[in-house]
């Protein structure tokens, strides 16, 4: 009927649970990597690695647990738009702090 409903129709049968359990293991593994990496002396890169892994984890949660991987494009857009403008907020403010004399 409209663009939201096409891709988001009620699933006919139960999706298998395997991917949920798998995802759980992956997330726990990533958490361990995150924890472990923070003990490596990487200097400023510790933050990059830490936050990078968190972004991956967040994307996985949203894709699998929150069903974005099978959602309509509009749904995905709604999920992404908040993060986009948050990036604008942090990016442009930080631009000020980084370029002050």
């Amino acid at each position: 009927m409209n663009e939201l409903q096409q891709a988001d129709a009620v699933p006919a049968k139960a999706p298998p649970t395997g991917r949920y359990w798998l995802m759980w293991l992956v997330l726990l593994a990533l958490q361990l990597v995150n924890l472990g990496s923070s003990y490596l002396p990487l200097g400023a890169f510790n933050v990059v690695v830490n936050v990078g892994i968190s972004i991956v984890k967040a994307l996985l949660v949203m894709a699998v647990f929150m069903h974005l991987s099978s959602a309509s494009p509009v749904m995905r857009l709604a999920a992404g738009v908040g993060f986009f403008f948050l990036a604008v907020l942090i990016g442009l403010s930080l631009g000020d702090y980084m370029t002050r004399p």
Partner: protein
């Protein structure tokens, strides 16, 4: 009030007369009226403050009220005008009333949320009223730290709580509109058949939903900082007051587009109807609405050119501010082109709409002055800025509000108002407005700082002019109140479509029945299918 009803179906007004039937309604049209009444109340509160401000500024000395009182006056004027009048003004009244009608839906997607948002608004308003009774707040509507967190002796927390709460009403309205437009369109109502009014509200809603939470959290931080004496804004504790400004303007610049986009939507409807032509460059108009909303998020630093922000950040924000003006320019040009070879009538809504274009242009172009770095260094925090934003917000948005009021009054109430009076009102308002605010441009250029209770005597002439203009402007506001009130009982019955307008809202009786349409409408063609020079149905 008697109303005509479509083949016996009761209109939304006659669906019930008890107070309870209004306070528990889920009908978007009734909620719109609830909002209308509340907004009128807060407009009068803030206008009273404006009247006091203008009276005080008649003389250079501070003889009417003392310093603190004056500071509280402009604070309450700004806070109430912005959050309790202008931001909800068009969206929660006309937007609420018309969007379901215009897309051929029975109601908004979440009617209960809609009603809840009105209660939240009222609760927020209550806090502001309590603030006023308790003695007011004196920080300016911008709540700059560390003054607000550490130095002000007024009721900051109460006021901030009120604004925090009203923010959620804005968020819920926006959320509702977005889902409604996505989900509730009638068969055949494709995206590019939506009236621009709906598009404008869609763009506005995006801003409401994405910017308002930032304001809410920032104000919450202010309250915490004031309560506990710790926080991230106080320089004495290692915090940074500019961080507050960044966060505040990240909301408040997009918020100015919350105020102007719905106005642009109104004007697009009115211009097309009274020139009997489809809007010029419909798709372009849509994209420019969306572009204003999106790019509007990236220009906030233009309020901070002299604040101690880095010079390079200033340059980036300046450039982006120029870019965001381009879609506004497109809209002005397209409205102008719509008149070309049209069949132009000068009914009251049209007069207001034409006034809007002129005054918005003035306000917008002086925005360009302020976006130009070196010019802003001189002009910022002077009356030039005050003139800039009143030109857009009062000359633009409020004019558009009155345009909408006159255009859809017959639809909302089923009655016509006296045309001559209405046109006179529009003209008085236009003249009074320019008298009030044009002198402020000059005062600002000459260096008169804003938020000044006492000022050097050189500026008196300009200030007296401005105060005189405010009286005329005040009359311009009062006139419609009178004849519209009169029309409620005595006005001629309007019929479904007094202007011969296209648009689904005109295809249902005035006032519309509870579920809007007797049967779900089906949309077959593009919007604004007017014929230039053709008969206009009257």
């Amino acid at each position: 009030m008697t109303t005509i009803a479509a083949e016996g179906a009761p209109s939304y007004i006659s669906a019930g007369y008890t107070l309870r039937s209004w306070l528990t309604t889920r009908d978007h049209k009734r909620i719109a009226l609830l909002y209308g009444v509340s907004i009128l109340f807060f407009f009068l509160v803030a206008a009273a403050a404006a009247a006091m401000i203008r009276l005080e500024l008649l003389t250079p000395a501070g003889d009417l009220v003392d310093d603190d009182t004056y500071n509280k006056l402009f604070t309450v004027h700004g806070v109430v005008m912005v959050w309790f009048f202008l931001i909800p003004s068009i969206p929660s009244t006309f937007g609420n009333f018309l969007i379901p009608l215009m897309i051929g839906a029975k109601d908004v997607a979440f009617p209960r949320l809609n009603l809840a948002s009105w209660y939240i608004y009222t609760l927020g308003g209550l806090f502001v009223v309590v603030t006023l009774i308790a003695g007011g707040v004196d920080t300016g509507w911008t709540f700059y730290t560390p003054y607000t967190t550490m130095f002000s002796n007024s009721h900051v927390i109460l006021a901030v709580t009120g604004v925090f709460i009203v923010g959620f009403s804005s968020i819920f309205t926006g959320l509702n509109f977005i889902v409604t437009v996505h989900q509730m369109r009638a068969p055949g109502m494709t995206w590019f058949r939506l009236p621009l009014f709906v598009w404008a509200h869609y763009a506005t809603s995006l801003v409401m939903v994405l910017a308002t939470p930032v304001l809410a959290m920032t104000l919450a931080l202010i309250a915490i900082e004031r309560l506990l004496g710790v926080g991230i804004f106080d320089p004495a504790l290692g915090g940074d007051p500019l961080l507050f400004q960044h966060l505040f303007w990240f909301y408040s610049h997009p918020a100015v587009y919350i105020m102007i986009l719905p106005a642009m939507g109104v004007v697009s409807e009115v211009i097309t109807c009274f020139s009997r032509k489809p809007v010029f460059g419909y798709q372009f108009m849509v994209y420019s609405l969306l572009a204003i909303a999106a790019v509007g998020f990236m220009v906030w630093g233009h309020h901070m050119f002299v604040s101690g922000q880095s010079m390079y950040a200033g340059m980036v924000f300046s450039l982006l501010s120029f870019l965001v003006a381009i879609p506004s320019a497109i809209k002005v040009f397209n409205w102008t082109a719509t008149l070309y070879k049209g069949s132009v009538r000068f009914d009251a809504p049209m007069l207001y709409a034409l006034g809007f274009i002129g005054l918005f242009m003035m306000g917008g172009i002086t925005g360009i002055w302020l976006a130009a770095l070196a010019a802003d260094v001189h002009l910022t925090d002077t009356y030039f800025v005050v003139a800039h934003f009143h030109y857009i917000m009062v000359g633009g948005a409020v004019m558009a509000f009155f345009s909408a009021l006159h255009f859809w009054w017959p639809k909302v109430t089923g009655r016509l108002y006296p045309d001559g009076w209405a046109r006179a009102g529009a003209i008085v308002m236009f003249v009074g407005f320019n008298l009030t605010f044009f002198p402020q441009y000059i005062a600002g250029y000459l260096g008169m700082p804003r938020r000044y209770h006492v000022y050097p005597p050189e500026f008196q002439v300009l200030n007296v002019l401005s105060s005189g203009g405010a009286v005329v402007l005040g009359v311009g506001y009062l006139l419609p109140l009178l004849y519209l009130w009169w029309s409620l009982r005595r006005g001629r019955l309007a019929g479904a479509n007094p202007w011969g307008a296209t648009g689904l809202e005109w295809q249902t009786p005035s006032p519309p029945p509870t579920y809007n349409f007797a049967s779900a409408p089906r949309v077959e063609g593009p919007p604004y299918a007017y014929q230039a020079g053709g008969t206009d149905g009257r």
